[in-house]
């Protein structure tokens, strides 16, 4: 090491707090760092060279970048707040007590048994698994390969960190807190606009934190610090540090992930959903590596990352460094290293001319500068020892001793978020990079994301963007002057996509996935031309870094091999998220009962007490009631028996209730329903189905006339909301001339259905204020009045085939009504009835259940309502479609009953075509509902069967569940076909 310092920590400099040492463990070894370190910088300070192994060949990998761009440094991290199985070391803020470990390499990344696979390297080129693991069956290999891949293992025992969600809107979202972003935010101060500035790092500044330029006469890091203070003091500006903008969506909607940090580690995360009127994209750029033989050696790293390690964290990977560059960035790195007291053994520049003034200064410091030269090889296994260099185009090779090599291959602008919105990245030959000249509406770009930019350019861009937004508000004041800059200007890059000398199979393009130049050449030879295919065939850019450092090099190499321009090859598709987002952050508290909204009936707690076993039917409803140790079948049978023999109490509160009112209410409803409602008188109730425009049944239910111009439609529970929306849509868009209003009041009323021969007696016990005798409150009639002293509606309608009343009271009285019904019902031998029994009862009666007994083709004609349709002269939605040839086809599936002659029918059972005894064979239809009928002692069902109405009495074979059952087609009404019981 140089005499200027000891170890890898530089004696001075950096933004770390040397007064606050922190202890941590890495792979079981105790280490120390300082507050302000990242885990990556702390590992470097402790001399760690190998942090991981590569995916395919298990080659040793060192720190290559300093932040999210690093393809190598995936580690598992446990702090006092929780555990994360796979994070990039450069993105982890060091905290006291942190325990980190490698997630690749066994038993450790320093000594990895898996490295033996390198011996088979020549056999494992691109696509080898597509070719190799096909015989005898991919499934044999898949588990092994899956075990060998991936990063880290989740720890379910680890405490869950709190997560928060936040929705917000702003006038301007500035993405990126570097020079351009800060300038833009500063330019918007005092504009009266709500500004959100988001940056992924804990403090604003970006490269200003470690570069040596001066702004307004002060170090650029100081300028950034002062501007951050200004911004944070402004009420209109929200500065979100440690916040990644992870996705950009339609309508300038963004997702942002904010990390909330404490001294103990990552304390929580907040997922923002943000809408912005204006967007300033100031995401900057990341550096590209260079492709040469042995460029994956630990110790080879991005030049900008090295500058950051030196400038922000005061650490260095080695005391003697070399630089390999095709642009001016390499000289700035050399200067930074020299200022830090490090030895720079050489700067290797691919350019034959056009060197910056800095090159003279570097040379004057005694650094040997090679022009028009390339690196042809590296030496060392777990750390770099030396490199060999040679003139481009051939010449004698020389050996250059160095412990680290900084590589600078040009910049890649971070245009991903614009691309999420569909902006197309275009290749800019001057910048040697893809940029987005056409941005989404409301977006502006500033800084290096636009292409070639010096510091002064970036600041100017930022202020200009701010000025443009102010101007759009009619504010033409320039509130702030553009600061003076002493620092680097635009830095043209000379194209250099690969070294001329060296072996292609040792030139690494994607360090994480071990994709080499040889792999790309192979893909090209095998005919891959599309960049999307190249990506999937070679796995280039498919790792956790999504090819941030590898993609452009890969595209350029592909272009050269295929004889295309880089712009013609194009980029792969950028999709959200920009960087990994924890599923827990997205899920928030949506788990268990909060996974999705749960709808409870007003009597829910009473059903719990009654032993209900709940099912989710859109609402949480009792499926059956467990009593006296009964199992489901016994309970359902007993519930059905109660309805048939005494009285059953069924909670029908979710049944839809829509009040339709106004002078044209009757005409309005008549246009929806198949039945003629124009003649419905107050107190009357009618059953009908409604259709969509194609004539297919959409819903069914009863419609009651409560008073002149006042109707109550009762759609099915599952369609209640949809029918209300359907009414409203037609009212607003097609029939605005009708004087009608629609009000969905489903939740206003608790509804109990009392069904069975003793239903009237039970209803009497509830003390109705009106006459409910059979001659007054007839079947298909409704009365309003009071019941139990409170407002009530009682409709006499039946879904079971028995005498039945649907009793509705305001929901707040529902629980007490249920209590009273249970008390009175128990004296009559009644009991609560769940959904399963209720649905079986209606099968016995042959009543349809829309969605079960109908499908996306079923018309009223198919369920036996053809006569009703034909009787109605007035028009209604879907009527025209019923008259089309398909609607009138004699081969349509028609709803009929089926009864098993042996065995049990099951829902979904296929009716085999005549002449076939087992599948595979053509079928004529299927069973839509089925149950064992206690009343009939038979297995019965409803079925949609081709020409069903004309096949009554026919014996058919029905296949379901691997068995064939013989059944007979019969009328759909099995129970009380004369309807005597419900008219009782």
């Amino acid at each position: 090491m140089s005499g200027a310092h000891r170890g890898h920590r530089l004696p001075a400099g950096g933004l770390i707090d040397r007064k606050r040492p922190l202890c941590f463990h890495y792979n079981g070894r105790a280490m120390t760092g300082f507050a302000g370190d990242t885990l990556a910088s702390a590992l470097m300070a402790n001399g760690v060279k190998v942090v991981a192994r590569s995916l395919k060949y298990h080659r040793p990998r060192g720190l290559f970048g300093a932040g999210f761009e690093d393809p190598n440094s995936m580690v598992a991290v446990r702090d006092s707040m929780g555990f994360d199985p796979a994070l990039r070391a450069g993105q982890v803020q060091l905290v006291d007590g942190m325990q980190a470990s490698s997630v690749t390499g066994w038993p450790s990344p320093d000594f990895d048994v898996g490295a033996l696979v390198q011996c088979t390297g020549p056999l494992m080129r691109a696509g080898f698994y597509y070719k190799t693991f096909m015989w005898p069956n991919w499934k044999l290999y898949e588990p092994l390969i899956r075990r060998a891949t991936g990063f880290g293992r989740p720890d379910s025992r680890a405490a869950a960190r709190p997560r928060d969600h936040r929705h917000d809107s702003c006038d301007v979202l500035i993405i990126g807190g570097g020079a351009a972003g800060i300038a833009a935010a500063h330019g918007l101060l005092g504009a009266g606009l709500k500004v959100v500035l988001a940056d992924d790092r804990p403090r604003l500044g970006g490269a200003l934190l470690w570069e040596t330029a001066r702004i307004d006469g002060r170090p650029c890091a100081t300028w950034a610090e002062e501007r951050q203070a200004d911004l944070e003091a402004d009420q209109e500006v929200a500065v979100l540090t440690s916040t990644v903008v992870s996705g950009a969506y339609e309508g300038n909607f963004f997702t942002l992930l904010q990390s909330i940090r404490s001294s103990g580690g990552l304390a929580g995360e907040r997922l923002w959903k943000l809408r912005a009127r204006h967007v300033i994209l100031a995401t900057g750029a990341i550096e590209r590596p260079l492709v040469f033989d042995g460029n994956d050696r630990p110790g080879v790293m991005l030049a900008s990352a090295l500058r950051r390690y030196i400038g922000e964290f005061a650490v260095t990977p080695a005391s003697d460094l070399a630089v390999f560059t095709n642009n001016d960035s390499g000289y700035r790195t050399a200067e930074a290293a020299l200022r830090a007291g490090l030895t720079v053994t050489a700067v290797i520049d691919t350019r034959a001319a056009g060197w910056p003034a800095a090159s003279e200064a570097v040379a004057a410091a005694g650094v040997r500068c090679y022009r028009a030269t390339e690196v042809t090889g590296t030496a060392g296994y777990k750390g770099l020892r030396y490199i060999t260099v040679a003139p481009i185009g051939g010449g004698p090779a020389q050996r250059v001793e160095c412990g680290a090599l900084a590589v600078a291959g040009g910049d890649t602008p971070l245009v991903h978020l614009a691309a999420h919105r569909g902006a197309r990245p275009i290749y800019d030959p001057e910048a040697q990079a893809f940029v987005c000249p056409e941005l989404p509406a409301g977006w502006l770009a500033a800084g290096s994301v636009c292409g070639l930019r010096g510091l002064a350019d970036s600041l100017r861009d930022g202020f200009s963007a701010a000025q443009a937004i102010r101007a759009a508000q009619g504010d033409t004041r320039m509130a702030h002057s553009i600061p003076e800059v002493e620092g680097p200007g635009r830095e043209p890059t000379s194209p250099f996509w690969r070294a001329g000398a060296g072996k292609a199979e040792r030139m690494w393009v994607d360090l994480q996935n071990d994709v080499t130049l040889a792999d790309i050449e192979l893909a090209s030879r095998e005919g891959y031309r599309s960049v999307e295919h190249l990506k999937r065939y070679t796995t280039l850019g498919m790792g956790t870094d999504q090819g941030r450092t590898s993609n452009v090099n890969g595209l350029a190499l592909m272009a050269a091999l295929s004889g295309q321009g880089i712009g013609e090859v194009g980029t792969t598709t950028f999709r959200p998220p920009f960087t990994a987002v924890r599923m827990a952050a997205i899920a928030h508290i949506r788990q268990n009962d909060l996974y999705r909204p749960v709808r409870l009936m007003p009597t829910h707690e009473r059903h719990v007490v009654a032993g209900a076993v709940f099912e989710d039917f859109g609402w949480r409803r009792p499926d059956w009631y467990g009593r006296n140790g009964e199992d489901r079948e016994a309970a359902v049978t007993a519930e059905m028996a109660a309805v048939r023999k005494s009285v059953g109490i069924f909670d029908a509160s979710p049944l839809g209730k829509i009040e339709v009112t106004g002078p044209d209410a009757a005409a309005f409803l008549d246009r929806f329903y198949v039945a003629d409602l124009s003649a419905l008188k107050p107190g009357g109730v009618r059953y009908s189905v409604m259709l969509k425009e194609d004539g297919v049944i959409f819903d069914d239910g009863v419609i009651a006339c409560l008073a002149p111009h006042h109707y109550l439609a009762s759609p099915t529970s599952g369609h209640a909301d949809a029918v209300a929306r359907w009414f409203e849509r037609w009212r607003q868009t097609e029939w605005p001339e009708l004087r009608v209003a629609v009000a969905a009041v489903t939740e206003t009323w608790a509804t109990l259905a009392l069904a069975g021969p003793n239903a009237r007696e039970l209803l009497m016990a509830l003390n109705p204020s009106f006459d409910i005798s059979a001659t007054v409150l007839k079947q298909m009639h409704i009365r309003e009045g009071r019941l139990g002293g409170v407002p009530a509606r009682v409709a006499r309608v039946s879904f079971t085939g028995e005498l039945q009343y649907e009793v509705s009271v305001p929901a707040r009285y529902g629980s007490d009504l249920l209590d009273r019904c249970q008390e009175a019902g128990a004296r009559l031998g009644g009991r609560l009835v769940g959904m399963e029994a209720w649905l079986r009862l209606r099968i016995e009666k042959g009543y349809i259940h829309v969605g079960s007994d109908t499908n996306g083709r079923t018309t009223p004609e198919d369920i036996g309502m053809g006569a009703l349709v034909r009787r109605k002269a007035a028009d209604f939605i879907g009527k025209r479609s019923l008259g089309l040839p398909y609607g009138r086809s004699p081969d349509r599936e028609q709803l009929v009953g089926v009864k098993a002659l042996e065995g049990q029918l099951e829902v979904g059972g296929r009716v085999l075509r005549a002449g076939h005894r087992a599948p595979p064979c053509p079928t004529d239809g299927y069973v839509t509902s089925a149950c064992r009928s206690p009343s009939l002692g038979l297995s019965i069902g409803l079925a949609l069967i081709e020409r069903g109405f004309s096949r009554l009495g026919e014996r058919v074979l029905i296949y379901s569940g691997g068995r064939v059952v013989e059944a007979q087609i019969c009328p759909s009404v099995f129970y009380d076909p004369q309807g005597l019981r419900l008219k009782a």
Binding site: R270, R739, V745, G788
Partner: protein
């Protein structure tokens, strides 16, 4: 026999009852069930403009004619829902009287009032962190400066439809369909705990 009433959350009809107090931050966040609030849903079957005066005579407050607006008169408030419909908030005991008054005045139901006290469960959320808590569940406003005090909007909160009335700087009234009330209360409490644990107001 007189049936007894139960409110959706606390079971206490006609009362304002504290459901939860979350003390994790400096200013406690209080969630109160306002079962004392009654409600009538008023709809017009035609352009209501000529009838606004008549509606105001029956309802008390004049029906607001602009989105987000609330008008008040005595203990009653009128909330804009659509250009043709309003929620009339009133003491629970006034519900029946209002319905009868509308039915008597508009016999053809050109203007119709229906029971709504049981349709919505009203929750009051009070505390300095209330706004941030609600912002966990939805956009309160697409205006960058948020929902202004005194305004109301109907939208999705935690994936359920909610009437959100900002009564004051730190006091919010939420109207949620009764069936979703338990879910929303659980969501608010769980979300508040998450939020208050990680702290920070942005």
């Amino acid at each position: 026999m007189i049936l007894e009433a139960r409110s959706a959350i606390s079971g206490s009809p006609g009362l304002a009852r504290l459901v939860a107090r979350i003390n994790a931050s400096e200013v406690p966040l209080e969630l109160i069930e306002r079962a004392d609030i009654g409600c009538v849903y008023c709809t017009a079957s035609l352009d209501p403009e000529p009838y606004l005066g008549e509606i105001a005579v029956i309802a008390g407050p004049p029906p607001p004619t602009a989105p987000g607006r609330v008008t008040a008169s005595g203990r009653r408030r009128a909330i804009w829902v659509t250009p043709r419909s309003w929620l009339l908030l009133c003491p629970l005991a006034d519900e029946e009287e209002l319905i009868e008054a509308f039915a008597g005045a508009f016999t053809e139901h050109t203007i119709h009032a229906c029971r709504y006290s049981d349709q919505l469960c009203w929750l009051e959320l009070v505390g300095a962190d209330a706004e941030n808590l609600l912002r966990a569940g939805s956009f309160l406003s697409l205006d960058g400066h948020g929902q202004a005090p005194g305004t109301v909007r109907r939208g999705q909160l935690a994936a359920v439809t909610v009437i959100i009335h900002r009564q004051g700087e730190i006091c919010w009234l939420l109207g949620v369909e009764r069936s979703n009330a338990h879910y929303l209360v659980d969501w608010l409490i769980s979300s508040a705990r998450q939020k208050l644990l990680i702290g920070g107001r942005q």
